[in-house]
Symmetry: C2
Subunit: 276 residues, 2 copies
Amino acid sequence: MLRLGWIQTLPVHGDPAANVAAVEPALLSGEADLWVLPELFSTGYLFDDRADLARVAEPVPDGPTARALVSLAVRGRCAVVAGVAERGDDGRLFNSAIALDGGGVRAVYRKVHLFDLERRLFDPGDLPFPVLGLAGARVGLMICYDWRFPEAARTLALAGAQVIAHPSDIVQPHCQAAMVTRALENRVFTVTANRVGTEERGDHRVEFTGGSRVVGPDGRVLSDGPVDRPASGVAEIDPAEADDKRATATNDLFADRRPEMYRIDQGAASARARGT
Amino acid sequence: MLRLGWIQTLPVHGDPAANVAAVEPALLSGEADLWVLPELFSTGYLFDDRADLARVAEPVPDGPTARALVSLAVRGRCAVVAGVAERGDDGRLFNSAIALDGGGVRAVYRKVHLFDLERRLFDPGDLPFPVLGLAGARVGLMICYDWRFPEAARTLALAGAQVIAHPSDIVQPHCQAAMVTRALENRVFTVTANRVGTEERGDHRVEFTGGSRVVGPDGRVLSDGPVDRPASGVAEIDPAEADDKRATATNDLFADRRPEMYRIDQGAASARARGT
Protein backbone atom coordinates (compact mmCIF):
# COMPACT_ATOMS: atom_id res chain seq x y z
CA MET A 1 0.00 0.00 0.00
CA LEU A 2 1.11 3.55 -0.72
CA ARG A 3 0.08 6.60 1.26
CA LEU A 4 -0.33 9.20 -1.46
CA GLY A 5 -0.50 12.80 -0.29
CA TRP A 6 -0.98 16.30 -1.65
CA ILE A 7 -0.02 19.59 -0.06
CA GLN A 8 -2.10 22.58 -1.10
CA THR A 9 -0.09 25.72 -0.42
CA LEU A 10 -0.30 29.50 -0.52
CA PRO A 11 3.23 30.34 -1.71
CA VAL A 12 5.08 33.46 -0.68
CA HIS A 13 6.03 35.07 -3.98
CA GLY A 14 9.73 34.98 -4.74
CA ASP A 15 10.80 33.35 -1.47
CA PRO A 16 11.78 29.71 -2.04
CA ALA A 17 13.17 29.26 1.46
CA ALA A 18 9.89 30.34 3.03
CA ASN A 19 7.94 28.05 0.75
CA VAL A 20 10.14 25.07 1.56
CA ALA A 21 9.76 25.84 5.25
CA ALA A 22 5.98 25.89 4.83
CA VAL A 23 5.86 22.30 3.59
CA GLU A 24 8.42 20.99 6.07
CA PRO A 25 5.92 19.95 8.75
CA ALA A 26 3.95 17.85 6.31
CA LEU A 27 7.04 16.28 4.75
CA LEU A 28 8.31 15.34 8.21
CA SER A 29 4.94 14.18 9.49
CA GLY A 30 5.32 10.60 8.36
CA GLU A 31 1.73 10.70 7.09
CA ALA A 32 2.51 9.93 3.46
CA ASP A 33 5.03 7.92 1.45
CA LEU A 34 4.75 10.23 -1.55
CA TRP A 35 3.87 13.90 -1.31
CA VAL A 36 2.94 16.02 -4.30
CA LEU A 37 3.34 19.82 -4.14
CA PRO A 38 1.89 22.46 -6.47
CA GLU A 39 3.37 23.81 -9.67
CA LEU A 40 6.03 26.48 -9.02
CA PHE A 41 5.43 25.92 -5.33
CA SER A 42 8.77 27.49 -4.38
CA THR A 43 8.55 30.72 -6.35
CA GLY A 44 4.97 31.75 -6.97
CA TYR A 45 3.45 32.13 -10.40
CA LEU A 46 3.46 35.62 -11.96
CA PHE A 47 6.65 37.36 -13.03
CA ASP A 48 7.24 40.57 -14.97
CA ASP A 49 9.50 38.95 -17.52
CA ARG A 50 12.16 36.29 -17.93
CA ALA A 51 14.77 38.34 -16.09
CA ASP A 52 12.41 38.67 -13.13
CA LEU A 53 11.80 34.94 -13.17
CA ALA A 54 15.47 34.09 -13.64
CA ARG A 55 16.28 35.69 -10.29
CA VAL A 56 14.42 32.93 -8.43
CA ALA A 57 14.80 30.04 -10.88
CA GLU A 58 17.23 27.38 -9.71
CA PRO A 59 19.29 24.64 -11.27
CA VAL A 60 18.19 21.04 -10.80
CA PRO A 61 19.38 18.95 -8.98
CA ASP A 62 21.90 21.29 -7.39
CA GLY A 63 19.75 24.28 -6.52
CA PRO A 64 18.84 25.08 -2.92
CA THR A 65 15.17 24.07 -3.27
CA ALA A 66 15.93 20.65 -4.73
CA ARG A 67 18.62 20.04 -2.13
CA ALA A 68 16.39 21.16 0.73
CA LEU A 69 13.61 18.85 -0.46
CA VAL A 70 16.00 15.89 -0.72
CA SER A 71 17.15 16.61 2.81
CA LEU A 72 13.55 16.71 4.02
CA ALA A 73 12.84 13.47 2.14
CA VAL A 74 15.71 11.82 4.03
CA ARG A 75 14.44 13.06 7.37
CA GLY A 76 10.78 12.38 6.57
CA ARG A 77 11.44 9.06 4.85
CA CYS A 78 9.24 10.07 1.98
CA ALA A 79 9.33 10.83 -1.71
CA VAL A 80 8.31 14.17 -3.19
CA VAL A 81 7.09 15.52 -6.51
CA ALA A 82 7.32 19.31 -6.59
CA GLY A 83 6.86 22.05 -9.16
CA VAL A 84 9.84 24.39 -9.43
CA ALA A 85 11.18 27.10 -11.72
CA GLU A 86 14.22 25.46 -13.29
CA ARG A 87 17.18 27.39 -14.63
CA GLY A 88 18.65 25.24 -17.37
CA ASP A 89 21.69 25.62 -19.55
CA ASP A 90 22.19 28.66 -21.76
CA GLY A 91 19.72 30.79 -19.87
CA ARG A 92 16.81 28.52 -20.56
CA LEU A 93 13.95 28.54 -18.03
CA PHE A 94 11.54 25.68 -17.50
CA ASN A 95 8.34 25.18 -15.57
CA SER A 96 9.45 21.84 -14.16
CA ALA A 97 8.39 19.06 -11.85
CA ILE A 98 11.08 17.20 -9.95
CA ALA A 99 10.63 13.74 -8.47
CA LEU A 100 12.94 12.90 -5.59
CA ASP A 101 13.45 10.76 -2.54
CA GLY A 102 16.13 10.46 0.10
CA GLY A 103 18.56 9.26 -2.55
CA GLY A 104 18.30 12.43 -4.58
CA VAL A 105 16.46 13.82 -7.56
CA ARG A 106 15.19 10.89 -9.63
CA ALA A 107 13.52 12.62 -12.57
CA VAL A 108 12.82 16.01 -14.05
CA TYR A 109 9.86 16.88 -16.23
CA ARG A 110 9.70 20.19 -18.09
CA LYS A 111 6.17 21.35 -18.82
CA VAL A 112 5.31 20.50 -22.40
CA HIS A 113 2.13 22.58 -22.76
CA LEU A 114 2.68 26.12 -21.48
CA PHE A 115 -0.35 28.10 -20.37
CA ASP A 116 -1.02 31.69 -21.36
CA LEU A 117 1.51 34.05 -19.72
CA GLU A 118 3.89 31.16 -19.07
CA ARG A 119 4.71 31.32 -22.75
CA ARG A 120 6.46 34.64 -22.19
CA LEU A 121 8.49 33.31 -19.27
CA PHE A 122 9.40 29.70 -19.90
CA ASP A 123 10.89 27.60 -22.63
CA PRO A 124 8.69 24.70 -23.73
CA GLY A 125 9.61 21.33 -22.27
CA ASP A 126 12.17 19.37 -24.24
CA LEU A 127 12.17 16.07 -22.32
CA PRO A 128 9.83 13.06 -22.63
CA PHE A 129 6.98 12.60 -20.19
CA PRO A 130 8.75 10.54 -17.50
CA VAL A 131 7.64 7.45 -15.63
CA LEU A 132 9.87 6.35 -12.77
CA GLY A 133 9.91 4.05 -9.79
CA LEU A 134 9.20 6.15 -6.70
CA ALA A 135 7.98 5.16 -3.23
CA GLY A 136 7.26 1.66 -4.52
CA ALA A 137 5.04 2.76 -7.40
CA ARG A 138 5.52 3.64 -11.05
CA VAL A 139 4.90 7.38 -11.08
CA GLY A 140 4.39 9.59 -14.12
CA LEU A 141 4.73 13.36 -14.13
CA MET A 142 2.71 16.07 -15.79
CA ILE A 143 1.97 19.68 -14.82
CA CYS A 144 -1.31 21.57 -14.58
CA TYR A 145 -2.45 22.58 -18.11
CA ASP A 146 -1.16 19.28 -19.51
CA TRP A 147 -4.54 17.97 -18.26
CA ARG A 148 -6.21 19.62 -21.21
CA PHE A 149 -4.32 17.39 -23.66
CA PRO A 150 -5.42 13.78 -23.30
CA GLU A 151 -2.19 12.66 -24.94
CA ALA A 152 -0.18 13.65 -21.85
CA ALA A 153 -1.87 11.32 -19.37
CA ARG A 154 -2.24 8.67 -22.08
CA THR A 155 1.48 8.74 -22.82
CA LEU A 156 2.26 8.30 -19.12
CA ALA A 157 -0.25 5.49 -18.65
CA LEU A 158 0.91 3.59 -21.72
CA ALA A 159 4.47 3.89 -20.44
CA GLY A 160 3.33 2.08 -17.32
CA ALA A 161 2.46 4.83 -14.83
CA GLN A 162 0.28 3.61 -11.98
CA VAL A 163 0.11 7.06 -10.42
CA ILE A 164 0.09 10.36 -12.29
CA ALA A 165 1.53 13.10 -10.10
CA HIS A 166 0.16 16.45 -11.23
CA PRO A 167 1.57 19.61 -9.64
CA SER A 168 -0.78 22.43 -10.57
CA ASP A 169 -1.57 26.14 -10.35
CA ILE A 170 -5.09 25.96 -11.72
CA VAL A 171 -6.89 29.16 -12.72
CA GLN A 172 -9.55 27.85 -15.10
CA PRO A 173 -12.49 25.69 -14.07
CA HIS A 174 -12.94 22.09 -15.19
CA CYS A 175 -9.51 20.64 -14.43
CA GLN A 176 -10.45 18.97 -11.17
CA ALA A 177 -13.50 17.30 -12.75
CA ALA A 178 -11.53 16.37 -15.84
CA MET A 179 -9.00 14.50 -13.73
CA VAL A 180 -11.76 11.96 -13.06
CA THR A 181 -11.89 11.37 -16.81
CA ARG A 182 -8.10 11.14 -17.00
CA ALA A 183 -8.10 8.51 -14.24
CA LEU A 184 -10.96 6.54 -15.78
CA GLU A 185 -9.80 6.51 -19.37
CA ASN A 186 -6.39 5.21 -18.30
CA ARG A 187 -7.35 3.34 -15.15
CA VAL A 188 -4.62 5.05 -13.15
CA PHE A 189 -4.47 6.95 -9.90
CA THR A 190 -4.08 10.69 -10.26
CA VAL A 191 -2.99 13.15 -7.59
CA THR A 192 -3.39 16.83 -8.34
CA ALA A 193 -1.77 19.26 -5.90
CA ASN A 194 -3.12 22.73 -6.55
CA ARG A 195 -2.35 26.00 -4.81
CA VAL A 196 -4.73 28.65 -3.48
CA GLY A 197 -4.67 32.42 -3.26
CA THR A 198 -4.33 35.18 -5.82
CA GLU A 199 -1.43 36.94 -7.51
CA GLU A 200 -1.29 40.26 -9.30
CA ARG A 201 1.36 41.72 -11.57
CA GLY A 202 0.71 44.74 -13.74
CA ASP A 203 -2.55 44.13 -15.58
CA HIS A 204 -2.69 40.48 -14.67
CA ARG A 205 -4.57 38.97 -11.79
CA VAL A 206 -4.93 35.24 -11.32
CA GLU A 207 -6.91 33.34 -8.74
CA PHE A 208 -6.00 29.75 -7.93
CA THR A 209 -8.71 27.26 -7.16
CA GLY A 210 -7.42 24.66 -4.68
CA GLY A 211 -9.46 21.50 -4.77
CA SER A 212 -6.39 19.26 -4.75
CA ARG A 213 -7.45 15.64 -5.14
CA VAL A 214 -6.61 12.00 -5.50
CA VAL A 215 -8.72 10.02 -7.98
CA GLY A 216 -8.73 6.24 -8.32
CA PRO A 217 -8.73 4.12 -11.48
CA ASP A 218 -12.50 3.66 -11.07
CA GLY A 219 -13.06 7.41 -11.05
CA ARG A 220 -13.70 7.68 -7.33
CA VAL A 221 -12.36 10.79 -5.61
CA LEU A 222 -10.32 9.37 -2.73
CA SER A 223 -9.21 12.64 -1.18
CA ASP A 224 -10.44 16.15 -1.87
CA GLY A 225 -9.08 19.51 -0.74
CA PRO A 226 -10.87 22.74 0.12
CA VAL A 227 -11.04 25.46 -2.53
CA ASP A 228 -9.92 28.42 -0.46
CA ARG A 229 -7.12 27.61 1.99
CA PRO A 230 -3.90 25.68 2.47
CA ALA A 231 -4.41 22.06 3.43
CA SER A 232 -3.01 18.60 2.97
CA GLY A 233 -4.56 15.22 2.39
CA VAL A 234 -3.58 11.58 2.06
CA ALA A 235 -5.24 8.60 0.37
CA GLU A 236 -4.00 5.09 0.99
CA ILE A 237 -3.87 3.27 -2.32
CA ASP A 238 -2.70 0.02 -3.82
CA PRO A 239 -0.79 1.06 -6.94
CA ALA A 240 -1.22 -2.44 -8.39
CA GLU A 241 -4.91 -1.69 -8.88
CA ALA A 242 -3.80 0.48 -11.78
CA ASP A 243 -2.26 -2.53 -13.51
CA ASP A 244 -5.75 -3.97 -13.95
CA LYS A 245 -7.05 -2.22 -17.04
CA ARG A 246 -10.40 -4.00 -17.09
CA ALA A 247 -13.36 -1.73 -17.66
CA THR A 248 -15.68 -4.77 -17.64
CA ALA A 249 -15.08 -8.49 -17.21
CA THR A 250 -14.31 -8.70 -20.92
CA ASN A 251 -12.93 -5.24 -21.71
CA ASP A 252 -9.29 -4.29 -21.16
CA LEU A 253 -8.85 -0.58 -21.79
CA PHE A 254 -5.39 -0.97 -23.24
CA ALA A 255 -5.88 -4.21 -25.17
CA ASP A 256 -9.07 -2.72 -26.64
CA ARG A 257 -7.28 0.30 -28.04
CA ARG A 258 -7.18 0.33 -31.83
CA PRO A 259 -4.33 2.63 -32.84
CA GLU A 260 -4.81 1.74 -36.49
CA MET A 261 -8.14 3.60 -36.33
CA TYR A 262 -6.75 6.74 -34.68
CA ARG A 263 -5.49 9.72 -36.63
CA ILE A 264 -4.00 11.93 -33.98
CA ASP A 265 -0.39 12.39 -34.98
CA GLN A 266 -0.78 14.95 -37.70
CA GLY A 267 0.05 18.53 -36.85
CA ALA A 268 -2.54 21.22 -36.40
CA ALA A 269 -1.98 22.60 -39.88
CA SER A 270 -3.03 19.46 -41.68
CA ALA A 271 -5.96 19.00 -39.35
CA ARG A 272 -7.14 22.52 -40.03
CA ALA A 273 -6.69 22.14 -43.74
CA ARG A 274 -8.82 19.03 -43.67
CA GLY A 275 -11.45 20.60 -41.47
CA THR A 276 -12.06 23.78 -43.36
CA MET B 1 -27.19 28.61 -36.25
CA LEU B 2 -27.96 24.92 -35.89
CA ARG B 3 -30.73 23.48 -33.76
CA LEU B 4 -29.08 20.36 -32.37
CA GLY B 5 -31.43 17.82 -30.83
CA TRP B 6 -31.37 14.50 -29.03
CA ILE B 7 -34.14 11.98 -28.63
CA GLN B 8 -33.94 9.79 -25.54
CA THR B 9 -36.02 6.67 -26.18
CA LEU B 10 -37.25 3.49 -24.53
CA PRO B 11 -36.98 1.06 -27.45
CA VAL B 12 -39.34 -1.88 -27.95
CA HIS B 13 -36.99 -4.84 -28.20
CA GLY B 14 -36.85 -6.42 -31.63
CA ASP B 15 -39.41 -4.13 -33.25
CA PRO B 16 -37.73 -1.61 -35.56
CA ALA B 17 -41.00 -0.37 -37.04
CA ALA B 18 -42.36 0.49 -33.59
CA ASN B 19 -39.14 2.26 -32.69
CA VAL B 20 -39.13 4.31 -35.86
CA ALA B 21 -42.74 5.23 -35.22
CA ALA B 22 -41.82 6.39 -31.72
CA VAL B 23 -39.37 8.99 -33.01
CA GLU B 24 -41.56 10.14 -35.89
CA PRO B 25 -43.30 12.96 -33.98
CA ALA B 26 -39.98 14.52 -32.98
CA LEU B 27 -38.46 14.13 -36.43
CA LEU B 28 -41.50 15.82 -37.97
CA SER B 29 -41.76 18.51 -35.31
CA GLY B 30 -39.48 20.98 -37.05
CA GLU B 31 -37.82 21.67 -33.71
CA ALA B 32 -34.29 20.63 -34.71
CA ASP B 33 -32.11 20.66 -37.81
CA LEU B 34 -30.14 17.63 -36.66
CA TRP B 35 -31.54 14.92 -34.42
CA VAL B 36 -29.41 12.30 -32.73
CA LEU B 37 -30.96 8.99 -31.62
CA PRO B 38 -29.57 6.37 -29.24
CA GLU B 39 -27.32 3.44 -30.08
CA LEU B 40 -29.26 0.48 -31.49
CA PHE B 41 -32.39 2.60 -31.18
CA SER B 42 -34.31 0.45 -33.65
CA THR B 43 -33.63 -2.99 -32.18
CA GLY B 44 -32.90 -2.83 -28.48
CA TYR B 45 -29.65 -3.94 -26.92
CA LEU B 46 -29.47 -7.52 -25.59
CA PHE B 47 -29.59 -10.56 -27.85
CA ASP B 48 -29.04 -14.24 -27.15
CA ASP B 49 -26.44 -14.65 -29.84
CA ARG B 50 -25.50 -13.51 -33.31
CA ALA B 51 -28.33 -15.47 -34.93
CA ASP B 52 -30.83 -13.77 -32.65
CA LEU B 53 -29.36 -10.38 -33.52
CA ALA B 54 -29.18 -11.16 -37.23
CA ARG B 55 -32.96 -11.51 -37.37
CA VAL B 56 -33.40 -7.78 -36.74
CA ALA B 57 -30.17 -6.41 -38.19
CA GLU B 58 -30.63 -4.58 -41.47
CA PRO B 59 -28.51 -3.59 -44.42
CA VAL B 60 -27.50 0.05 -44.81
CA PRO B 61 -28.60 2.10 -46.71
CA ASP B 62 -31.29 -0.17 -48.16
CA GLY B 63 -32.85 -1.61 -45.00
CA PRO B 64 -36.30 -0.56 -43.86
CA THR B 65 -35.08 1.49 -40.88
CA ALA B 66 -32.60 3.55 -42.89
CA ARG B 67 -35.18 4.09 -45.61
CA ALA B 68 -37.89 5.07 -43.13
CA LEU B 69 -35.55 7.57 -41.47
CA VAL B 70 -34.62 9.13 -44.81
CA SER B 71 -38.30 9.47 -45.61
CA LEU B 72 -38.90 11.15 -42.25
CA ALA B 73 -35.91 13.42 -42.86
CA VAL B 74 -37.48 14.52 -46.13
CA ARG B 75 -40.83 15.22 -44.50
CA GLY B 76 -39.28 16.80 -41.39
CA ARG B 77 -36.61 18.73 -43.29
CA CYS B 78 -34.00 17.54 -40.84
CA ALA B 79 -30.89 15.42 -40.63
CA VAL B 80 -30.57 12.37 -38.39
CA VAL B 81 -27.81 10.36 -36.75
CA ALA B 82 -29.14 7.03 -35.49
CA GLY B 83 -27.70 3.89 -33.99
CA VAL B 84 -28.72 0.71 -35.83
CA ALA B 85 -27.79 -2.95 -35.99
CA GLU B 86 -26.20 -3.26 -39.43
CA ARG B 87 -26.11 -6.48 -41.42
CA GLY B 88 -23.02 -6.25 -43.59
CA ASP B 89 -21.61 -8.51 -46.25
CA ASP B 90 -20.74 -12.12 -45.52
CA GLY B 91 -22.88 -12.31 -42.42
CA ARG B 92 -20.99 -9.60 -40.60
CA LEU B 93 -22.90 -7.63 -37.98
CA PHE B 94 -22.00 -4.12 -36.87
CA ASN B 95 -23.12 -1.80 -34.12
CA SER B 96 -23.41 1.18 -36.44
CA ALA B 97 -24.36 4.82 -36.56
CA ILE B 98 -25.84 6.18 -39.75
CA ALA B 99 -25.91 9.85 -40.70
CA LEU B 100 -28.58 10.86 -43.15
CA ASP B 101 -30.70 13.68 -44.46
CA GLY B 102 -33.43 13.99 -47.07
CA GLY B 103 -30.92 13.11 -49.76
CA GLY B 104 -30.15 9.72 -48.28
CA VAL B 105 -27.62 8.05 -46.03
CA ARG B 106 -24.46 10.18 -46.00
CA ALA B 107 -22.14 8.18 -43.78
CA VAL B 108 -21.90 4.96 -41.80
CA TYR B 109 -19.75 4.45 -38.74
CA ARG B 110 -19.21 0.97 -37.31
CA LYS B 111 -18.41 0.98 -33.58
CA VAL B 112 -14.69 0.61 -33.12
CA HIS B 113 -14.64 -0.15 -29.38
CA LEU B 114 -17.17 -2.86 -28.54
CA PHE B 115 -18.45 -3.02 -24.96
CA ASP B 116 -18.75 -6.22 -22.96
CA LEU B 117 -21.47 -8.49 -24.39
CA GLU B 118 -21.39 -6.64 -27.69
CA ARG B 119 -18.17 -8.49 -28.37
CA ARG B 120 -20.16 -11.73 -28.70
CA LEU B 121 -22.66 -10.17 -31.10
CA PHE B 122 -20.92 -7.70 -33.33
CA ASP B 123 -17.86 -7.51 -35.51
CA PRO B 124 -15.48 -4.69 -34.62
CA GLY B 125 -15.76 -1.61 -36.78
CA ASP B 126 -13.62 -1.60 -39.90
CA LEU B 127 -14.20 1.94 -41.18
CA PRO B 128 -12.50 5.21 -40.18
CA PHE B 129 -14.15 7.58 -37.73
CA PRO B 130 -16.14 9.73 -40.17
CA VAL B 131 -16.60 13.49 -40.35
CA LEU B 132 -19.17 14.73 -42.84
CA GLY B 133 -21.10 17.82 -43.78
CA LEU B 134 -24.60 17.50 -42.33
CA ALA B 135 -27.25 20.11 -41.59
CA GLY B 136 -24.69 22.84 -42.28
CA ALA B 137 -22.10 21.59 -39.81
CA ARG B 138 -19.13 19.26 -39.89
CA VAL B 139 -20.36 16.29 -37.88
CA GLY B 140 -18.27 13.42 -36.53
CA LEU B 141 -19.67 10.10 -35.39
CA MET B 142 -18.81 7.86 -32.47
CA ILE B 143 -20.88 5.45 -30.39
CA CYS B 144 -21.29 5.11 -26.63
CA TYR B 145 -18.24 3.30 -25.17
CA ASP B 146 -15.97 5.09 -27.64
CA TRP B 147 -16.14 7.90 -25.06
CA ARG B 148 -13.74 5.96 -22.84
CA PHE B 149 -10.98 6.21 -25.45
CA PRO B 150 -9.85 9.81 -25.84
CA GLU B 151 -8.42 8.97 -29.25
CA ALA B 152 -11.92 8.62 -30.72
CA ALA B 153 -13.12 12.17 -30.07
CA ARG B 154 -9.61 13.48 -30.76
CA THR B 155 -9.53 11.79 -34.15
CA LEU B 156 -12.87 13.33 -35.06
CA ALA B 157 -11.93 16.81 -33.83
CA LEU B 158 -8.59 16.81 -35.63
CA ALA B 159 -10.41 15.78 -38.79
CA GLY B 160 -12.47 18.93 -38.46
CA ALA B 161 -15.63 17.88 -36.61
CA GLN B 162 -17.48 20.81 -35.08
CA VAL B 163 -20.14 18.54 -33.59
CA ILE B 164 -19.59 15.01 -32.29
CA ALA B 165 -22.81 13.02 -32.55
CA HIS B 166 -22.75 10.23 -29.99
CA PRO B 167 -25.58 7.66 -30.07
CA SER B 168 -25.37 5.74 -26.79
CA ASP B 169 -26.79 2.97 -24.62
CA ILE B 170 -24.94 3.86 -21.43
CA VAL B 171 -24.92 1.39 -18.54
CA GLN B 172 -21.84 2.53 -16.59
CA PRO B 173 -21.57 5.82 -14.71
CA HIS B 174 -19.19 8.62 -15.70
CA CYS B 175 -19.87 8.90 -19.44
CA GLN B 176 -22.13 11.93 -19.22
CA ALA B 177 -19.64 13.82 -17.05
CA ALA B 178 -16.73 12.70 -19.23
CA MET B 179 -18.38 14.21 -22.30
CA VAL B 180 -17.68 17.60 -20.73
CA THR B 181 -14.00 16.71 -20.83
CA ARG B 182 -14.31 15.47 -24.42
CA ALA B 183 -15.91 18.76 -25.45
CA LEU B 184 -13.36 20.86 -23.57
CA GLU B 185 -10.21 19.09 -24.64
CA ASN B 186 -11.23 19.37 -28.29
CA ARG B 187 -13.34 22.54 -28.14
CA VAL B 188 -16.19 20.88 -30.00
CA PHE B 189 -19.89 20.48 -29.41
CA THR B 190 -20.97 17.01 -28.32
CA VAL B 191 -24.46 15.57 -28.39
CA THR B 192 -25.04 12.31 -26.57
CA ALA B 193 -28.40 10.61 -27.14
CA ASN B 194 -28.85 7.89 -24.53
CA ARG B 195 -31.74 5.51 -23.98
CA VAL B 196 -33.56 4.65 -20.77
CA GLY B 197 -35.14 1.51 -19.34
CA THR B 198 -33.82 -1.96 -18.60
CA GLU B 199 -33.32 -5.14 -20.58
CA GLU B 200 -32.89 -8.72 -19.42
CA ARG B 201 -31.69 -11.79 -21.28
CA GLY B 202 -30.68 -14.95 -19.49
CA ASP B 203 -28.29 -13.99 -16.72
CA HIS B 204 -27.81 -10.49 -18.02
CA ARG B 205 -29.63 -7.42 -16.91
CA VAL B 206 -28.68 -3.94 -18.00
CA GLU B 207 -30.07 -0.61 -16.92
CA PHE B 208 -29.67 2.43 -19.14
CA THR B 209 -29.08 5.82 -17.62
CA GLY B 210 -30.63 8.51 -19.82
CA GLY B 211 -29.13 11.91 -19.17
CA SER B 212 -28.77 12.72 -22.86
CA ARG B 213 -26.96 16.02 -23.29
CA VAL B 214 -25.44 18.66 -25.48
CA VAL B 215 -22.14 20.14 -24.30
CA GLY B 216 -20.47 23.23 -25.76
CA PRO B 217 -16.78 23.81 -26.58
CA ASP B 218 -16.43 25.69 -23.29
CA GLY B 219 -17.72 22.71 -21.31
CA ARG B 220 -21.14 24.17 -20.62
CA VAL B 221 -24.04 21.71 -20.65
CA LEU B 222 -26.48 23.30 -23.09
CA SER B 223 -29.25 20.72 -22.84
CA ASP B 224 -29.70 17.93 -20.35
CA GLY B 225 -32.16 15.03 -20.31
CA PRO B 226 -33.83 13.25 -17.41
CA VAL B 227 -32.34 10.00 -16.19
CA ASP B 228 -35.49 7.88 -16.08
CA ARG B 229 -37.87 8.54 -18.96
CA PRO B 230 -38.10 9.18 -22.69
CA ALA B 231 -37.61 12.81 -23.63
CA SER B 232 -36.13 15.07 -26.26
CA GLY B 233 -34.17 18.29 -26.14
CA VAL B 234 -32.70 20.88 -28.46
CA ALA B 235 -29.83 23.34 -28.10
CA GLU B 236 -29.33 26.12 -30.59
CA ILE B 237 -25.65 26.33 -31.41
CA ASP B 238 -23.27 28.09 -33.76
CA PRO B 239 -21.05 25.30 -35.10
CA ALA B 240 -18.38 27.86 -36.05
CA GLU B 241 -17.65 28.36 -32.36
CA ALA B 242 -15.93 24.98 -32.53
CA ASP B 243 -13.49 26.33 -35.12
CA ASP B 244 -12.04 28.63 -32.47
CA LYS B 245 -9.63 26.40 -30.57
CA ARG B 246 -8.44 29.11 -28.19
CA ALA B 247 -8.31 28.03 -24.57
CA THR B 248 -6.89 31.44 -23.63
CA ALA B 249 -6.03 34.55 -25.62
CA THR B 250 -2.64 33.01 -26.41
CA ASN B 251 -3.36 29.26 -26.33
CA ASP B 252 -4.76 27.38 -29.31
CA LEU B 253 -5.58 23.82 -28.28
CA PHE B 254 -4.62 22.35 -31.61
CA ALA B 255 -1.60 24.53 -32.42
CA ASP B 256 -0.30 23.84 -28.90
CA ARG B 257 -0.36 20.08 -29.36
CA ARG B 258 3.12 18.54 -29.44
CA PRO B 259 2.77 15.18 -31.15
CA GLU B 260 6.52 14.67 -31.05
CA MET B 261 6.21 14.36 -27.26
CA TYR B 262 3.36 11.84 -27.32
CA ARG B 263 3.89 8.09 -27.34
CA ILE B 264 0.43 6.70 -27.88
CA ASP B 265 0.66 4.65 -31.02
CA GLN B 266 2.26 1.53 -29.66
CA GLY B 267 0.05 -1.47 -29.08
CA ALA B 268 -0.99 -2.69 -25.66
CA ALA B 269 1.61 -5.43 -25.64
CA SER B 270 4.58 -3.11 -25.87
CA ALA B 271 3.05 -0.76 -23.32
CA ARG B 272 2.56 -3.59 -20.89
CA ALA B 273 6.03 -4.91 -21.45
CA ARG B 274 7.44 -1.52 -20.65
CA GLY B 275 5.24 -1.03 -17.64
CA THR B 276 5.89 -4.26 -15.82
